[in-house]
Amino acid sequence: MSGTSRDALMAVAASREIRDGETAFIGTGLPMVAAYLAKATHAPGVNLVFESGIIDPAPLELASGVGDYRLAYGSTKIAGTFYALSLLQQGKIDIGFLGTAEIDAFGNLNSTVIGNYRRPKVRLPGSGGANDIASMAKRFVIIARADPKRFVEKLNYLTTPGFLTGPGAREAAGLPGSGPVKVITDLGILGFDPASKRMRLEETFPGISPAEVQSAIGFELVPYADTRAAVAPTEEQLDLLRTKIDPNGMYVKNLQASR
């Protein structure tokens, strides 16, 4: 399995987070690939919801984004943004997936600015549905490549809530969801220490040592005794990715290339 592409490892790891029968809130890119992989394997009953207002679609080909008309095909309901987002607030969404520009040790995310808010060095796209998903999905998963510029000690701006300032902070803010459960990177999978709510390394990908992961993270990871090797993707999963779900490599690049 050492030749499996990083994208494929991340997509498979993300798909494993989805349990059968759940309702998942899905965005563009690897989350879409992960969702359809889960649906095709261990979670055939997963109900997919998209922020564009599409519910339970059956697209014939992989959509380029949540706004792609291909995604709407075969959906059981087509509504608006309010409908999709209010499902989060009601607690109907079991799991969401988010990408990010910056992330800190508590799983808080920044997609707003680098530098000062009013005169930023770099203006980023903004929250979109990210803050809503992180605040209100029952749980959520972050997908982000490991990089000290991305995993930072202090965010330039806190767009999207992980555990905010630490234990009890989400509850004080009245956020209904329980917060982030996993951070899937290209080097391995991180989780959160239950006591401090800070990130810790839980699984490593093939050929990657815990030290390598720490050197790609800009803050100190909480020590964790049970760090183990991630379960390898199965041939069936890789085959599905390659032949059915993302045959053109739109999001899962270099399916058989090594890092």
Partner: protein, 311 residues
């Protein structure tokens, strides 16, 4: 029998004055009323405020034309391309002021206005810099934490946003302004309810009989619409569900040009200021190119005719 809401595009655009706040329908590369905004961009209106959610092309082109002063919004980003450069750089160099929200935050502020309420309770945005860091609004004027008087649940309250004008591009309408839209409806219902005035541009005009035959397809009843414009390909180069997909080459062309202020200026001269009417703009691309974007009536997207060797 009510009176016709039909007006010319120029007459509809004339409703927009300097300093007004505008909200536009659509999302991603879909449904935004670009025909209306291209015409607006030729009028030299300025100091506009956008109250948006994710209508990236409207925000970006208004920014490119130097017409945008302020933005209440959630997320402006070109799916499949990258960032909205003119908008982003406008904020970076202080020409445009931003007030950030989550998607739901913007939807709820518009909904508060549309429901005639002084605030809407909601549960996201709390605890983050969206609530705590000031843009051009004082944080307390935008959102405040609140404890329910009934059971003590912690929520946040957001204040209403009332745009002066909502501009929506839709599928069909009758002359009374009863509007049908296919596919996802983004934030259109909330935008229409919130705005003081509503302008709708549509691909087709149909009879009232046709509307009456299928009332559940009506997204916006005529009573909510002030002005109606018959504007075929009114979202082009973006798409309209049930009619045509977006023109990737035209979008890529803008995206490339937007790398620099100079490239943007040339693009504006070519595609906005150098073109007199909506029909001229369409013909500058060519009828055959536009017709090639048509969606398959069952699939809902453009059918790629597979190649083969005919006998």
């Amino acid at each position: 029998m009510g009176h016709s809401k039909l007006v010319s595009l120029d007459d509809a655009v004339a409703l927009v004055e300097d300093g007004m706040s505008i909200t536009a329908g659509g999302f991603a590369h879909s449904h935004q009323p670009m025909g209306f905004f291209r015409t607006l961009m030729r009028t030299g209106r300025k100091d506009l405020t956008i109250m948006g959610v994710a209508e990236c092309w409207v925000a970006e082109w208004l920014a490119a034309a130097g017409m945008l002063r302020r933005a209440y919004f959630s997320n402006f980003m070109f799916e499949g391309f990258g960032r909205c450069r003119r908008f982003s750089e406008g904020i970076e160099n202080g020409m445009i002021e931003a007030e950030d929200h989550s998607h739901f935050g913007m939807v709820m502020r518009l909904a508060a206005s549309g429901l005639g309420l002084p605030f809407m309770p909601m549960r996201s945005q709390a605890g983050t810099d969206i609530m705590n860091v000031a843009g051009f609004e004082h944080p307390a004027a935008k959102a405040q934490m609140f404890r329910s008087p009934f059971d003590g649940t912690v929520v946040s309250l957001v204040s209403p946003l009332k745009p002066d004008i909502a501009v929506i591009h839709a599928a069909r309408a009758d002359e009374l302004g009863n509007v049908e839209l296919y596919g996802t409806t983004s934030v259109i219902e909330e935008q229409v309810r919130a705005a003081a005035k509503v302008i709708v541009t549509v691909e087709e005009i149909v009879t009232t009989e046709e509307i009456r035959r299928n009332p559940q397809a009506t997204l916006i009843p005529g009573m909510m619409v002030d002005k109606l414009v018959h504007l075929p390909f009114g979202a082009f180069p973006l798409g309209v569900y049930g009619y045509y997909e977006y023109d990737g080459a035209a979008l890529a062309d803008y995206y490339e040009a937007s790398r620099t202020p100079e490239g943007t200026r040339v693009w504006l001269d070519t595609w906005v200021h150098g073109i007199a009417t909506h029909w001229d703009y369409l013909d500058a691309h060519g009828a055959s190119r536009l017709l090639a974007l048509r969606t398959d009536p069952h699939l809902g997207y453009r059918y790629d005719i597979p190649e083969g060797v005919a006998r």
